[in-house]
Structure formats: structure tokens, C-alpha cells
């Protein structure tokens, strides 16, 4: 058997030098005259161990990481092709604590094999969900997704099955499935990771959505900042089409479904569903007023399911293992698993898929291991640029949609940015307003004008100009933006601003003026 060496081709791993490691290994193989096959897999999401190199041995996979090109010679000398010991030796990848503690349902296959091998996908349970779906009545598929308790993983948490039911029940000559892969929130990379590491699971999820609702065409709208994900999805769609997963007879059934990959153009607001639809239609990415709901009048005015990548990628396992299997994970009304992305100033950064219910403290301190700078954690922002900043005092909050809402926060797309005690929360609040001003689509006044006035008012606080009056103004402005904006951009910008203001008021005090010299 020719040894197989797995080196991640995921952007995160590439950003940490995986390409150089792959080249060094290929060179060393050639120089030593050793035969081995290098496979570029996705990432398992433990970015603090990337670039991670895995070797398939007789006793199973052995991982090494983080590997530098300068480690390659000594890896060969240590006999890593048979799992030999080395300072970068990590043992079996699924026994690495960060990975072993996860419950991987959606990401079960991510990072294990060549993302474009449909055979590898099938060998790990892929396409079973779609096979079941094509043998079922559409209403039964929708029922199963509804009963699983799956809620929109993009951030809004709307029940996926109910959205599908509306589309199924709306009569039309044409319906669409749109996948929102405009993952613009800082601290989030779950969509990118699954598209680069297991693209077929998304394709399978979209095909199931098509069969369930009678939609025959799907679009994946990927942000332009993700060139690797775009390339991978395009290749995967071609493979799926050739294999009959997509096309006029999905898996040999009478259902037709095909899809296209589309690329965004750098507008954050296009992550908002109606603005995304306008963008797909070739218009300015301005937000549409709702109603009408996209499920009734969506893309090109037709009934449209618009779901986040992770929502759609979670459907195959639900259709494979059943609604009860999925629903048994989680807490309260937050069912199943959620891929938490631990990012920023954190020791063990990466993607951690787990059932809902872990506390914020468990995630940041225990799994994340605290800050990478070694300084105390001051704040964590949960849910991207529109999410609230949480102080340590709220670290007992369980990861659950309702529990976060009760603490004036949101879990959003489940990204967590960790900040150490050098963070200036006034600066973070100002950035939230500034970001909203840069990215506002301009359609509604609270967002377009409010964000700019917000920046100016926070600048006055920093300058010590009537700070109490300005704080009252910002509070009032946030209230207007929260309730008067058309979408979540203007509507949720108050979360980071107000949480910074409420939990870290000391940072909003004017800087002490130095005593004038005698």
C-alpha cells in the first residue's frame, strides 16, 4: 500500500503555510525516492494546530502539527510515514482533545478526505439523506426537517422547516433554493470551512431542499473574499452534475435540480437575505421591505427558500438519521448542534461543533484556553459585528438562542471574538457605528444617517465634550436604530454599542487630563 499523507488545502491552513509544507514534503519524497500520495483534505478546524499533517498508517491516522517547512526533514528522519514519534506528534487526530470533545454532525466529514472525492463522501455516509428524500413525499421531508427543530444558522434562528413549508405550499411555475454564503461577520468561518472541506454536504442539502419544495434551481451566493471556497464549490458542482447528483434526474429520481455558484462583490449588507436576492438579480444590494416574504415572492418574484450554508449542510444528516436523532442534541428551543467559531485573541482558535448549551465561559476559558497573548480576557463579542460584547460577569450564559437574547445579545452565526484587557471598548463601540456607516445600503434613515451621527457622538465622548449628554444621545440613537431600521444591519448595530457602554462604562470616561505644569 502506498502511504497517504494528508495536508490541508483549507484557506486557514494555507494562510499558515500549508502550501510550503506540502511542497517541502513533496520535495523530500522525491529526494529520498519514497513513494507516497499527498492528499489535500479540508481542515478539521483546529487552527492552532494547522498546518496539520496526517499520515494514514496501519493503525489508523496519525497527526503532526503545527508543522513548519523546517520540520519536514526531521519528520522523515523520525519515520513519520509509519507514525513515528516527533516533537510535532499529536497522535490519532480524533483523539486530540479539541476534536475529541466535539459532537460533529454537520462537520462529520470535514477535513478527513479529499473534498472533491464523491466516493470518499459516500464512504462516510454521504448521499444517504438525499437517497431517503427522493423516495419520500415532499410534505414528509418538510415535516422531518421541521420536527428536527433545525433553526436558521445564519443568525436569525427562524425554523427552517416552516420556511420550507411556505415555499412548498406556494404554487408557482418556478421556485428557487438560494444558499446564503455571504459570511461577512468577523469571527465566523464555518461556511467557508464546510465549502472548502466538504462541499458535497451543501450540494446534498440544497438538492434535498429542492426536492422538498419543488424548486428546480439553486444558487450559492459566495462572498468574493472567499476565492478558495468559490473555486471548490464550482469544482464540486461539476463533479455532482457528472455523477447525477444534480441534473434532470436527481439520483435517478424524477426530480430535477441544478445549481450555480455566484460571487458577491464586497458588500457586507448582501448577507441580509433580501439584499442578497437583489444582488443575485443584478441590482444594487439594497434591502427589501418585508412582506412579501421571500418564501412567497423571492428571487425574480418567485417562491424562494433562502437558507444559510450551515442550515442547508445540516439537512443531510437529519434526512439520514432522522428528526429525533438530531433533536436529541441541544437544550430548550435550540435543538441539534452548532459549529462555534472561536476566534481573535485566543489560544486554541478554531471551529468547535457541539450541542447547544455549553456556557460562554466553558467555550472561552476551557476549550479556547484563554487568550493567545496570555493576558486576562476582558470581553468577548458573540455573533459578529452586530453582536454584543460580553464581560466575564456573563460567562455563565449558556449557548442558546433564547438565553443570549435574555442577556441582550445574540448568538448570530456563532462566532466568538476574544479580546484581552488591552481592548478599548469605546473604540470597539465606535467601530461598530463606523462599520455600519461603511456598509449601510442607504435605504433607511436610521441606519444610513444614524451610524454616522453615532461615530461623531462617540468621538465627542472620547474628547470629553459633555460626556453624560453624549451617552444619553447615543442611547437614544441606538433605540431609534434598533426599532426603526429595515434590517439587522442598522437594527443590531446597537448591540455592540450598548453592550460596550453598559458593561464597560469605565472605558467611556474621558481620559484623565494631565495636571498643568507649575
Amino acid at each position: 500500500m502506498i502511504p497517504r499523507i494528508y495536508i490541508s488545502g483549507d484557506s486557514g491552513a494555507l494562510a499558515l503555510g500549508a502550501e510550503k509544507v506540502a511542497k517541502a514534503i513533496a520535495k523530500e519524497l522525491a529526494e529520498r525516492g519514497v513513494e507516497a500520495k499527498i492528499v489535500r483534505n479540508g481542515s478539521r478546524g483546529a487552527y492552532f494546530l494547522e498546518p496539520m499533517v496526517e499520515v494514514a498508517t496501519e493503525k489508523g491516522r496519525v497527526a503532526y502539527g503545527p508543522v513548519k517547512p523546517s520540520d519536514v526533514k526531521s519528520l522523515f528522519d523520525s519515520g513519520f510515514l509509519t507514525g513515528g514519534h516527533h516533537k510535532r506528534w499529536l497522535g490519532a487526530p480524533d483523539k486530540i482533545p479539541f476534536i475529541a470533545r466535539q459532537t460533529r454532525l454537520t462537520f462529520a466529514r470535514c477535513g478527513i478526505n479529499d473534498p472533491l472525492s464523491l466516493d470518499a463522501y459516500k464512504s462516510l455516509g454521504g448521499l444517504k439523506g438525499l437517497q431517503n428524500a427522493v423516495a419520500m413525499a415532499p410534505a414528509d421531508i418538510v415535516k422531518q426537517v421541521t420536527e428536527s427543530g433545525l433553526r436558521g444558522r445564519g443568525g436569525a434562528g427562524f425554523p427552517t422547516g416552516i420556511k420550507w413549508k411556505t415555499v412548498l405550499d406556494t404554487t408557482s411555475d418556478r421556485k428557487y433554493i438560494v444558499c446564503n454564503a455571504d459570511e461577512g461577520d468577523s469571527a465566523t468561518f464555518a461556511d467557508r470551512m464546510i465549502m472548502e472541506g466538504d462541499p458535497f454536504v451543501l450540494i446534498e442539502g440544497m438538492a434535498i431542499a429542492g426536492v422538498a419544495t419543488g424548486a428546480t434551481k439553486g444558487f450559492v451566493y459566495i462572498r468574493s473574499e472567499y476565492p478558495h471556497a468559490v473555486a471548490m464549490m464550482n469544482k464540486a458542482v461539476a463533479v455532482a452534475r457528472k455523477a447525477g447528483v444534480l441534473g434532470v434526474n436527481v439520483l435517478g429520481s424524477p426530480n430535477a435540480f441544478d445549481m450555480e455558484i455566484r460571487v458577491g462583490a464586497g458588500a457586507y449588507v448582501c448577507g441580509e437575505e433580501t439584499s442578497l436576492l437583489n444582488s443575485l438579480e443584478g441590482k444594487r444590494g439594497v434591502v427589501r421591505a418585508k412582506p412579501p416574504l421571500p418564501a412567497i415572492q423571492g428571487l425574480f418574484g418567485k417562491p424562494t427558500v433562502i437558507n444559510n450554508v450551515i442550515s442547508l449542510a445540516s439537512v443531510p444528516i437529519i434526512m439520514d438519521k432522522g428528526a429525533t436523532f438530531y433533536k436529541d442534541f441541544g437544550m430548550g428551543r435550540s435543538r441539534g448542534t452548532i459549529p462555534i467559531q472561536i476566534a481573535g485573541n485566543v489560544k486554541n482558535g478554531g471551529l468547535f461543533e457541539t450541542a447547544f448549551g455549553l456556557t460562554l465561559g466553558d467555550i472561552v476559558d476551557d476549550i479556547g484556553g484563554g487568550t493567545s497573548t496570555g493576558r486576562p480576557v476582558k470581553a468577548v463579542q458573540v455573533g459578529g459585528p452586530l453582536g454584543a460584547y460580553f464581560p466575564r460577569a456573563l460567562f455563565d450564559t449558556p449557548f442558546d438562542y433564547e438565553a443570549f437574547a435574555a442577556k441582550d445579545g445574540l448568538i448570530g452565526h456563532a462566532g466568538i471574538t476574544v479580546f484581552d484587557d488591552t481592548a478599548d471598548m469605546l473604540k470597539q463601540a465606535r467601530f461598530a457605528m463606523e462599520f455600519c456607516a461603511i456598509e449601510s445600503c442607504g435605504k433607511c434613515t436610521p441606519c444610513r444617517i444614524g451610524s454616522t451621527r453615532g461615530v461623531e457622538t462617540i468621538d465627542k465622548i472620547a474628547a470629553g465634550i459633555e460626556p453624560d449628554k453624549q451617552i444619553a444621545l447615543v442611547t437614544d440613537l441606538c433605540n431609534t436604530m434598533k426599532f426603526g431600521s429595515l434590517c439587522a444591519l442598522g437594527g443590531f448595530t446597537p448591540y455592540p454599542v450598548m453592550s460596550a457602554l453598559n458593561h464597560f462604562r469605565e472605558d467611556f470616561k474621558p481620559a484623565p487630563v494631565a495636571e498643568a505644569a507649575e
Binding site: A15, L16, T417
Partner: protein, 159 residues
């Protein structure tokens, strides 16, 4: 300086791109992406050709082009360096990273070096948030930036 193609040439190359992509549903963004790929920016001379072919007004095309951050009205430098300035990178010192790039290149954001080698831009998230601070040089991603890597990137971009 690079020579700008004549307006008639822009029109004919634009028409060829449109011809290829017109059949798509909602073809405008794919067309604009392809035009930018072809010319390095979206030339003014392309707009009336697109408007005519898609049966929309020139104002509508202009509105779309100017809405999206990605579309350029002028060609960029030979390399485009995007430095992430979003929260996860902020927590790892992206302000200092940006300052260092600006100092080494002698330009600010949205500017191009005098020799036309590099255009420097802020970007709000590259999805490399567990490898912060990060940047992208053309299509190549780089994480955990430190002074050494920053200097390497600048040297590579300048060469």
C-alpha cells in the same frame, strides 16, 4: 504607465463578455466581474454597452457598479493587498499591522504606490479569524502576521 485601450476596443471586448454571459439569470454581476477581470477595472466605456444589451438604463448600471466595493473605476496596482480590519483581527493588533504596511509602502488605504506595484485596501473579514491578524495578497491568504511576514509581503509585492 500602462496604455488604456481605446473606447472602441473596450466596447467590443465588453460586447464579447456580455454575449457569453447574457443567458444567465440575473447576469449583471457576473458580467461586471468578468469585465473587471478583463480590464482590471470597470471602464466607463463599458457601461453604455451593458445598458443597451441588458435593456436597462445607463443610470441603473452606474448605480450597481458604484454600490459594490469590489468594482473599481480605475485600474489598481499590479498587486492588490487587502489587510483585514475587522474585529477578530483588531483583537490581535490589526491597527498596528495596517500602520506598518502603510509606513513600508508609503501610502494609505485605497491608494496605489507611485511605481504602480501595490494597491492597499482594508477588508472586513477574510474568514481567517482563528489565524488573526490576516491579509490577502492578490488571491493568496496570509495569517498570523508579524513584522517579519509583513516585510516579506511588502518585498514580494514590490518586486
Amino acid at each position: 504607465m500602462t496604455m488604456q485601450p481605446a473606447s472602441t476596443e473596450i466596447a467590443s471586448r465588453t460586447a464579447a463578455i456580455i454575449q457569453e454571459l447574457k443567458g444567465l439569470e440575473g447576469p449583471l454581476l457576473p458580467i461586471l466581474h468578468e469585465i473587471q477581470e478583463e480590464f482590471g477595472h470597470v471602464p466607463q466605456d463599458s457601461l453604455p454597452v451593458i445598458a443597451e444589451a441588458l435593456n436597462i438604463s445607463r443610470a441603473e448600471v452606474h448605480g450597481v457598479v458604484t454600490f459594490y466595493h469590489d468594482y473599481r473605476s480605475h485600474p489598481a496596482g499590479r498587486h492588490v493587498l487587502k489587510v483585514c480590519q475587522a474585529e477578530a483581527c483588531q483583537s490581535m493588533g490589526s491597527d498596528a499591522v495596517a500602520a506598518k504596511f502603510k509606513q513600508l509602502l508609503g501610502i494609505g488605504f485605497h491608494e496605489t504606490t507611485r511605481d504602480g506595484s501595490v494597491t492597499l485596501e482594508p477588508v472586513y473579514c477574510l474568514g481567517l479569524c482563528a489565524c488573526a491578524p490576516s491579509a490577502m495578497l492578490d488571491g493568496e491568504v496570509i495569517g498570523r502576521l508579524d513584522d517579519e511576514k509583513i516585510e516579506e509581503i511588502v518585498a514580494e509585492a514590490r518586486s
